[in-house]
């Protein structure tokens, strides 16, 4: 199908894309290459420009500058109908007056495919998404999950170069959203089509994507595999927004070497930690760690943080403890997920010492000298 991975080149290539609205800049000179068969998610808070990128690729927004290649062909000047893209939007926008089969057929009909081929293709698509018996139903006679499958089948029927998905699950409640995401992933593993997916939901992005591009203020903030971005966030924004890491202020003592290890200082403790390259001795940095990495006892080399417990909530599998570290900005609050056995006797406003093993720390340099890390 679309994911002919043997083919050279990329399914989608965006070069120097810029979009200005009057004096405000929605997208700053963005470059992005999506290889064939990749599921790439643009993740970002609202207003980060992710939807603008998607609608520009679809041809509904004209870029101020920049070019766009679909399957190696310059599509910058093409109208949406000639771009060979598939699109799935929020609430699916199925045509309510057409049956499921007619919805799937729509793109084939518009492309002038012969009737016999259209019939065969629609049947094939209905079969692919497991709706072989429901082709005659109108959208309102289908469940939400079935509607999503029709929308996917409709967008994939004519084998578009790229499937664009604009927050398709944005209007659903959490449980349903995760179920639908599973269905999307299943279909993608089956047919390996190239997908550009837009969402503001981290879990959705993490569970669906081969690769995630995090956007912020019209720029690419981070780009990588979900696992890498989660464990080793390249920027503080990524650490907070994507990985839910704790970030404490630290100072770079030795910038990370080729092996990716450097030395950082936090309140007089000098630690050898892994981190992003960049920074100069003495420059500011963020030292990040996951809430689940926090311990109440030190085993081996560990970062020690003294502080007071400000809240502790029983969550079932663990206890979520919020604490204020001493010696840094007063407003700062860190989070720990502690096992029940250990956390049970922690009381509010109690003085405590928390430890984070050095292997769980990640150093993010900032300011001049620090790379923005967009590689």
């Amino acid at each position: 199908m679309t994911g002919d991975t043997s083919r050279g080149g990329s399914a989608l290539e965006i070069r120097g894309l810029r979009k200005e609205y009057g004096h405000s800049i929605a997208i700053h000179d963005l470059d992005l290459v999506v290889p064939h068969g990749e599921f790439l998610t643009l993740l970002g808070p609202s207003g980060s420009g992710k939807s603008t990128v998607l609608r520009t690729v679809a041809g509904f927004i004209e870029p101020t500058r920049g070019s766009l290649l679909l399957d190696g062909i310059d599509a910058s000047r093409l109208s949406p109908r000639n771009r060979n893209i598939g699109m799935v939007v929020q609430n699916y926008a199925l045509f309510p007056h057409l049956t499921a089969a007619e919805n799937i057929d729509y793109g084939l009909k518009m492309r002038g495919v012969a009737l016999a081929d259209r019939r065969a293709r629609v049947a094939e698509m209905l079969d692919l998404v497991g709706l072989a018996d429901l082709g005659k139903r109108k959208p309102r006679q289908l469940s939400g999950g079935q509607q999503q499958r029709v929308a996917l089948a409709r967008a994939l029927a004519y084998q578009p170069a790229v499937l664009l998905m604009d927050e398709p699950l944005g209007a659903l409640d959490r449980d349903l959203r995760m179920r639908m995401a599973e269905e999307i992933r299943e279909l993608h593993t089956k047919i390996r089509s190239t997908v550009l997916y837009v969402t503001h939901d981290r879990d959705e992005a993490m569970s669906l994507s081969d690769r995630i591009v995090i956007m912020r203020d019209g720029r690419i903030e981070a780009d990588g595999r979900p696992r890498d971005l989660y464990r080793q966030p390249p920027t503080r924004f990524t650490a907070r927004f994507f990985s839910s890491h704790n970030v404490v202020p630290a100072t770079v003592r030795e910038p990370a070497d080729d092996g990716g290890r450097g030395r950082a200082e936090y309140l007089g403790q000098s630690l050898r930690v892994a981190g992003e390259p960049g920074g100069t001795p003495g420059s500011n940095a963020g030292l990040t760690f996951l809430p689940s990495a926090v311990r109440l006892t030190a085993t081996g080399d560990a970062l020690a943080i003294k502080g007071t417990v400000s809240a502790s909530v029983f969550m079932g599998e663990f206890v979520r403890v919020k604490f204020r570290p001493r010696g840094v900005a007063e407003s700062m609050e860190l989070e720990a997920q502690l096992s029940i056995d250990h956390a049970e006797d922690l009381l509010r406003s109690e003085e405590c010492e928390f430890f984070v093993p050095v292997d769980d720390l990640w150093l993010i340099p900032e300011g001049p000298g620090a790379t923005a890390s967009q590689s």
Binding site: V89, A93, L94, R111
Partner: protein, 273 residues
């Protein structure tokens, strides 16, 4: 039975009696005149007498056999059709601009479009009359059609705009991504889905202008005689019982067309996915 339940019981009885009484009086008030008209339309008397001394289809025959009355019906139908089609086209285009673009002063435009329905009929007719006098188009067919176009514009402005607002804009976006041209997406998807709303607004517009009797008295100048105007004129010179037959026919047709309109509106609600 305790005192308290006794009181509650009596109160319930009283409430029910009141409700039934009110219902019956309203029904009588509303239906009695209609019933009288229906009865009178089957009178064979040359004058209005209630109850009729003789029964028959005389009034219906007189109406259907009169060139004057039938020509008034023809004028009414033509004026109503033309003005409804015009106002529907204008109103639908306006609805599109209001629901789908960042047009400035959108709400002002909506209020203006709906104004003819809100303004007192006589005041509006007077104002138009003065304007038409200056333009020297009083008694012109085009002038009357245009006046009715403005008068029926509120229907598409309200009904079609409402339906369009309920239609997701993404339907057109997706349709174009699937390979439809902009026109094809607008006509094949949006307009197709608006069809019931457009139909309903035409029905209401048609009935409204067909039935209108104020404006025509000012703007028709005795040269454009619609059915309501003809009835009006005939009543001025004494009541011809033939009017009762017209009234009955009108009531039946209006009821029928209204049913179609209401059904179309239901269809429209069903369109929303």
């Amino acid at each position: 039975m305790s005192v308290r339940t006794e009181i509650a019981y009596r109160a319930r009885i009283a409430a029910r009696t009141l409700r039934i009484g009110a219902g019956v009086s309203i029904a009588l008030l509303m239906l009695l005149p209609v019933a009288i008209v229906v009865v009178l339309s089957f009178s064979a008397d040359p004058y209005l007498v209630f109850p009729p001394a003789e029964w028959g289809l005389r009034q219906y025959e007189a109406f259907l056999g009169s060139d004057e009355w039938l020509s008034a019906v023809g004028v009414s139908v033509t004026v109503a059709l033309l003005s409804t089609v015009l106002s529907t086209v204008i109103g639908t285009l306006a609805a599109y601009a209001i629901a789908r673009t960042d047009l400035p002063l959108k709400s002002a435009l909506t209020s203006l479009g709906v104004a003819p329905l809100v303004l007192p009929g006589v005041a509006y007719a007077m104002a138009l009359y003065v304007l038409y006098l200056r333009l020297d188009v009083v008694g012109s067919f085009t002038g009357v059609v245009l006046a009715y176009t403005a008068l029926t514009l509120p229907f598409p402005m309200l009904i079609v705009t409402g339906a369009l607002t309920r239609l997701p804009a993404d339907l057109e976006v997706v349709s174009m991504s699937l390979g439809a041209s902009r026109i094809r997406a607008m006509v094949g998807i949006t307009l197709r889905l608006l069809a019931p709303a457009i139909g309903a607004s035409m029905v209401f517009g048609f009935i409204y202008s067909f039935d209108e009797a104020t404006l025509i008295n000012f703007l028709g100048s005795g040269q454009i005689i619609t059915l309501p105007k003809a009835i009006f004129d005939s009543v001025l010179t004494g009541i011809d019982p033939l009017i009762m037959a017209i009234a009955v026919i009108l009531m039946c047709l209006t009821g029928l067309v209204m049913t179609v309109g209401v059904r179309l509106r239901q269809l429209d609600q069903g369109n929303t996915p």
